[in-house]
C-alpha cells in the first residue's frame, strides 16, 4: 500500500512572457523546474499542485534513476495508495522562483549581464509565486486545480491561490500555516537574515563573483530556524542533556548532543542552499498578509474566495501555532466557505507537517478521497 512512486524525472519549463512582481520589478524571462506524478485525466480535473515551504523544491516524491537516495521531501504523503494517491491525482510540484534548485533564482545567470543575478534578483512575494505557478498550470493545460496543497509557507501559497484565482482551485489544503506572521515570527526571520547579511562573505548578495559562500551566516540562520521548527518536548526526547563524551570539558567545543545535531544540520544546509534564496524565502513569509489591502480585515480579504478548505495544525507547533490556523478557520466560517479543521496532537512542532503520522495522514486521506470522488463519479 505504501509504495513509492519510484523513478521520477525533473523537467524544466521556460517562460518568455515578462513577469511583473508586486515590488514593481520585472523578470523578462525565467525557468521553473517541476515534476509531475500520476496521469492527467481526459477532462484535466484531477490536477493537484504542491507548494513548497522555505527550503523545499520540485522533488516532492519518488527518487531519481541516477540518484536513488535522493527521495522527494513529501514522499510519505504522495505515491500509489498514499493520501495524495498518484493512481487518482495528477500531482505537480515545482521549485519556486528565487529558489536554488534549478528554477531561476539569485544564483542563476542573468542573460542581460552574463553574471549571476545576486543582489539584483527581485524580492518575491507569495502573490508573485502564485502568478508564476498559474503560468506553469497554463503550460500544462490545467485550467483548474482539484486542490492546491501546502504546509507552512506552502500553505500561504495554497491560500493565495484561492484569492488570486478563485475560479482555478476547488480545494485548498492549508497545513501548519498562518494568515500572516506574528511580530515574533518576523523577528526570528530577521535574526536569520542578519546572520547572512553580516557575514563578510555575503558581499551584499553578490558573493558569486568573489567565489565565496556566506556559509557562516547561512549556517546560523538554519540553526536558529531549526530550533523554531522543533518543540521543547521533541528536543528533550531526542537529545535531552546528553553529552557526547559523557563528561563536561569546560570549553566551547561541542559538548551536548543538541549542539552537535544543530551544527551538523547547519553545515549540511550551508553546503547546498543559497544564501540569497534564504533571504527571499523569509521575506516572502514576512510579507504575506492578504488582509493588508483590506484595512487589516481578513474576512474581507477572503470574500472573493470560492474554494473549499481543509485546515490542519499541530499542537506543539509554536512557530505556526494552532491559534493561527483557527484565525484562518474563523475567517472561512465568516465567509460561509466549506471548511474542515483538524488540530493534530503531535510532539514534533512545526516539522510535524512533514512527518509520517497516522491520524494526520488519515485526515488528509479522508479529505482527498472525497475530492477524488468528485471527478471519478
Amino acid at each position: 500500500m505504501n509504495t513509492s512512486i519510484g523513478i521520477v524525472t525533473a523537467q524544466r519549463a521556460h517562460f518568455d512572457t515578462p513577469l511583473t512582481f508586486r515590488s514593481g520589478a520585472v523578470l523578462p524571462q525565467y525557468d521553473l523546474m517541476y515534476e509531475t506524478y500520476g496521469t492527467l485525466n481526459a477532462d484535466k480535473s484531477n490536477a493537484v499542485l504542491i507548494c513548497h515551504a522555505l527550503s523545499g523544491h520540485h522533488h516532492v516524491a519518488g527518487s531519481y534513476a541516477d540518484d536513488p537516495k535522493n527521495v522527494g521531501w513529501w514522499d510519505n504523503m504522495i505515491g500509489p495508495g498514499k493520501p495524495l494517491d498518484t493512481n487518482k491525482f495528477f500531482i505537480v510540484g515545482l521549485n519556486n522562483l528565487g529558489g536554488c534548485h534549478g528554477s531561476t533564482g539569485p544564483a542563476s545567470i542573468n542573460p542581460a549581464t552574463g553574471k549571476p543575478y545576486g543582489s539584483s534578483f527581485p524580492v518575491v512575494t507569495v502573490e508573485d509565486w502564485v502568478e508564476s505557478q498559474a503560468r506553469l498550470a497554463d503550460m500544462l493545460g490545467i485550467q483548474q486545480f482539484a486542490a492546491v496543497v501546502g504546509g507552512s509557507l506552502g500553505g500561504m501559497q495554497a491560500m493565495q491561490w484561492s484569492l488570486s484565482y478563485p475560479e482555478r482551485v476547488r480545494h485548498v489544503l492549508a497545513i501548519a500555516t498562518a494568515p500572516r506572521l506574528t511580530a515574533e515570527n518576523i523577528a526570528f526571520n530577521d535574526v536569520a537574515r542578519n546572520a547572512i547579511l553580516t557575514d563578510p562573505d555575503f558581499h551584499g548578495g553578490d558573493f558569486y563573483q568573489h567565489n565565496v559562500v556566506p556559509k557562516r551566516g547561512l549556517r546560523l540562520a538554519r540553526m536558529l530556524g531549526h530550533i523554531t521548527y522543533l518543540s521543547d518536548d521533541a528536543m528533550a526526547d531526542k537529545f535531552g542533556r546528553t553529552l557526547r563524551s559523557g563528561k563536561l570539558s569546560y570549553n566551547y567545543e561541542i559538548e551536548f548532543e543538541i549542539e552537535s545535531y544543530l551544527r551538523y544540520q547547519g553545515d549540511k544546509f550551508a553546503n547546498y542552499f543559497d544564501a540569497n534564496t534564504y533571504l527571499l524565502m523569509t521575506k516572502a513569509l514576512d510579507y504575506f498578509d492578504p488582509a493588508r489591502d483590506f484595512d487589516d480585515n481578513l474576512d474581507r480579504a477572503f470574500a472573493r474566495a470560492k474554494a473549499n478548505y481543509l485546515v490542519i495544525s499541530f499542537t506543539t507547533d509554536w512557530r505556526f501555532s494552532p491559534e493561527r490556523s483557527r484565525a484562518i478557520v474563523n475567517t472561512l466560517l465568516h465567509n460561509k466557505r466549506n471548511v474542515s479543521y483538524a488540530e493534530i496532537t503531535s510532539t514534533h512542532g512545526h516539522d510535524s507537517f512533514l512527518m509520517q503520522h497516522e491520524h494526520y495522514h488519515n485526515v488528509m486521506r479522508a479529505y482527498l478521497d472525497n475530492i477524488a470522488r468528485e471527478f471519478t463519479a
Partner: protein
C-alpha cells in the same frame, strides 16, 4: 458511502425528529457532531449548509469521511469563532447531559443561532425512576454508562429542562418526546425516554 439515511434514522431516532423542524436550505451548526451522521443526514434530506464541532480525533476523521464540514474544537471553550446569528439552527444532539458548563454553552448557542435544538435522554423516564427506586443508578440503551465511567454530568428530566427554559426566558417552540421510534404524548416525563426541544430566546 458509510450508511444510507434510512439506516441513520433507525440508529438515531432523534435525527428524524430534529430534521422535521428544519426547512430545506437552512444553515446549521451541530455541536458535538460525533461522526457527522446527523449533518450528513440533514445535508442529504434537507440540503442544509452547515458545520459540526467535535473534539475527538476519530470523529474528525469520520466527519470528513462523511463529507461534512467538521471543526475540531472544545465546544465548551466557547463558540467565539462564530458570528452572532450566523446560523438558522444550532443543534446539541445527545450532548447536553455531558456538558460541564451548560448555562454559558446555551447562552452561546442562542447568540450564534436564531433557534436552538437540543435532544437528550429523559432522566424522568419510568424505567430510570424504577432503577433509582431499586437503589441503583439507571443503565439503559439511552444511558449506557455505569456511574463511574459516565460522561454524563448534567442529566435532567423534561420537567427540569422546562424549568430551565422558564428561568432563562427561553420560548419552547416545539417538543418531540419518544421512546425508541415511538412518539409519546401521554405523560411524556414518565413514558418518554428521549426528548427533542426547539427553542429560542423570548424576543
Amino acid at each position: 458511502m458509510n450508511h444510507e439515511p434510512s439506516q441513520l434514522t433507525a440508529s438515531r431516532p432523534d435525527f428524524a425528529a430534529i430534521a422535521a423542524s428544519i426547512p430545506t436550505g437552512s444553515s446549521v451548526l451541530d455541536l458535538g457532531c460525533g461522526d457527522g451522521s446527523l449533518l450528513r443526514y440533514l445535508k442529504e434530506t434537507r440540503n442544509v449548509r452547515g458545520y459540526g464541532v467535535e473534539i475527538s480525533d476519530a470523529n474528525i476523521e469520520a466527519g470528513i469521511r462523511n463529507g461534512v464540514n467538521v471543526i475540531q474544537a472544545d465546544l465548551e471553550s466557547g463558540l467565539s469563532g462564530f458570528e452572532e446569528n450566523a446560523f438558522d439552527f444550532v443543534i446539541l444532539s445527545q450532548t447536553l447531559q455531558a456538558t460541564h458548563r451548560t448555562e454559558p454553552l446555551i447562552e452561546e448557542m442562542l447568540r450564534v443561532g436564531r433557534e436552538c435544538i437540543v435532544s437528550f435522554p429523559n432522566f424522568g423516564y419510568w424505567k430510570n425512576r424504577l432503577q433509582v427506586i431499586r437503589g441503583n443508578m439507571p443503565v439503559s440503551k439511552d444511558l449506557p454508562f455505569q456511574w463511574y465511567d459516565t460522561p454524563n454530568v448534567h442529566l435532567c428530566t423534561l420537567g427540569d429542562f422546562e424549568m430551565f427554559c422558564d428561568k432563562y426566558k427561553l420560548q419552547i417552540l416545539d417538543r418531540h418526546v419518544m421512546t425508541g421510534t415511538t412518539n409519546v404524548s401521554f405523560l411524556p416525563n414518565l413514558l418518554g425516554s428521549m426528548a427533542v426541544y426547539r427553542f429560542r430566546r423570548v424576543s
